[in-house]
């Protein structure tokens, strides 16, 4: 008698959450070809469905940058000569987060048919969605580094620190993606709420204004926003070749919080995914 690998007791009631999470992690490794396939399918669909193809990966943030430059730079005459790069850095970082979450939400719904047929690890779906956006992010960061000298900014060796910052953001992003993707299967309102809340979140982060312009009495709350750190620190290392202004303690706390968000998100998703195929 051979022992079963998939489709046996993975879903049985007496299997504890701890074992279920461990099995999900093992399955993610076993199904790595599926993850790769989901990523390449998404990327190829983008490339073939638009005339400009991968140019949109950078045109999207550039056009949004143009909007803010017209409003802030030209009409309000604020921001200074580096403003386009100032805002573009935040946009690229933000779009990685926001698009990962929205892609995870919609991909999890789109894979409903497969989820009703095959016992693959469902957590592969938001992971693949986030990896897809991480590829966009790397591409956009590359273009940003090329554009910087045109605005009189020369990236230096400290730009390498963008890598650990991006990894930290990846952990946070993946956690939020898992959380909202599973919530949205049961409550389809989540997608809409998320869109509006994220729009607000972006603008109360130091995205289009520097941190110093925000009301000082809200400073503590302001600093609790992970994107205050992500945006400002990314600018420091990429645009100005400076060490992040954020203290190591703060970065440590942010890392711990991000890991916690990922753990909670993953467990919630694994738990919720037991019922995904039942939702009609």
């Amino acid at each position: 008698m051979s022992t079963a690998v998939i489709g046996d007791d993975a879903f049985a009631q007496d299997v504890g959450l701890r074992r279920r999470v461990r099995r999900e992690l093992d399955d993610l490794i076993a199904f790595r070809h599926l993850i790769r396939h989901l990523v390449s399918t998404s990327l190829r669909a983008e490339l073939s469905s638009t005339t400009l193809g991968f140019l949109w990966w950078i045109l999207d943030p550039l056009l949004l940058m143009g909007v803010y430059y017209v409003f802030i730079g030209l009409i309000l005459r604020r921001g200074g000569p580096h403003y386009p790069m100032f805002v573009l850095t935040a946009i690229i970082s933000w779009e990685f987060f926001a698009k990962s979450v929205s892609r995870s939400i919609s991909l999890t719904l789109a894979k409903e048919g497969s989820m009703r047929q095959v016992a693959f690890p469902r957590s592969a779906i938001p992971l693949a969605a986030t990896i897809t956006e991480a590829i966009h992010f790397v591409f956009a960061m590359g273009v940003l580094l090329i554009l910087l000298p045109a605005f009189g900014l020369t990236p230096g060796p400290l730009a390498v620190l963008a890598i650990p910052l991006a990894l930290l953001e990846l952990v946070f992003t993946l956690g939020v993606s898992y959380l909202l993707a599973s919530a949205n299967v049961f409550f389809r309102d989540v997608k809409h709420l998320t869109e509006h809340f994220f729009w607000l979140w972006f603008h109360v982060s130091p995205s289009i204004f520097p941190a110093v312009l925000f009301p000082q009495q809200f400073l503590t709350i302001f600093q609790m926003n992970p994107f205050a750190t992500f945006f400002e620190d990314l600018r420091s290392v990429v645009m100005h070749d400076r060490l992040p202004a954020t203290s190591l303690l703060h970065l440590g706390v942010l890392s711990a919080v991000s890991l916690l968000v990922l753990a909670v998100g993953f467990v919630t998703f694994v738990q919720g995914s037991r019922s995904f195929a039942k939702v009609a």
Binding site: G7, Q13, H33, T41, S114, Q117, A119, F120, K278
Partner: protein, 260 residues
């Protein structure tokens, strides 16, 4: 036929929490919870209750029953895509492959790309699929259409491709939910032969079908589900006979359909 078990169900129950799975908006969920905070148990619906059976390797078993009797839910529980809420279901195979009409394909991708995607869902490596590609395409009879997007396929073409992939990826347990009823007669006959080959190789096949003729010709045993419970499990021809006469009787009495 060997006596090695392939699928064993003991006291299997699957519950649908209608509150979670039917109400898709947060507003209605909250309104419901506000008005009636303890309605939890009444919103539960047991699609399967106390289901016990053993299916052996090399056996092909049909599941019969009226709409809403839990046939598809049972196949999904065997495939491991939904959880058992009570009891347990164990499959002693490398993997169970479930085929349902119109599910599991990426419509924008070509048939060929979908073969690779399906293979990835079944945990096959790309180089394993390279090897299976030709037999799959040949069996599906799709010819040049294999490079057309699946969204342009007819239901029959999709079913042919789906069956062909499933039948060639060495499924130790193959679960078919009405997929063969959409193909033409020639393909149905070819698929039936292929199913016989699979059971000859000690693989287990479970089919849900409304074609009683197909069941009697293909399956050794049949399991009759009624409102989520096993009414009869025995030789296919006997169970089918009883089921057919019961269905005729209830039609004559114009009994209303079971809920869900």
């Amino acid at each position: 036929m060997t006596t090695t078990p392939a699928i064993v169900a003991r006291g299997l129950g699957v519950r649908y929490n209608l509150r979670l799975t039917r109400r898709r908006t947060l507003r209605r969920f909250l309104a419901e919870a506000w008005r009636n905070p303890r309605s939890h148990s009444t919103s539960d619906f047991w699609a399967l209750r106390d289901v016990d059976f053993d299916i052996l390797s090399g056996e092909s078993v049909a599941i019969v029953g009226r709409n809403g009797s839990g046939k598809s839910t049972l196949l999904m529980a065997i495939a491991g895509v939904i959880a058992a809420d009570s009891g347990r279901i164990t499959t002693f195979g490398r993997r169970a492959t479930l085929l349902t009409i119109g599910a599991g394909f990426e419509p924008e991708l070509s048939g060929r790309e979908n073969i690779y995607l399906n293979g990835a869902y079944l945990r096959l490596r790309p180089r394993d699929i390279d090897r299976l590609l030709e037999p799959i395409i040949e069996f599906s009879e799709l010819g040049q259409f294999i490079d057309a997007p699946v969204k342009d396929y007819s239901t029959g073409m999709r079913a042919r491709l789906g069956f062909s992939i499933a039948a060639h990826t060495n499924p130790e347990i193959l679960l078919l939910d009405e997929v063969l009823s959409v193909g033409d007669t020639a393909f149905q006959e070819k698929s039936r032969k292929r199913l016989m080959e699979l059971t000859g190789q000690a693989q287990a096949v479970v089919v849900v079908s409304h074609s009683l003729d197909f069941i009697v010709k293909t399956c050794s045993r049949a399991l009759w589900l009624e409102r989520g419970e096993v009414l009869r499990f025995g030789p296919a021809d006997e169970v089918v006979d009883e089921y057919a006469s019961a269905a005729a009787a209830s039609n004559a009495a114009a009994a209303p359909e079971a809920p869900v």
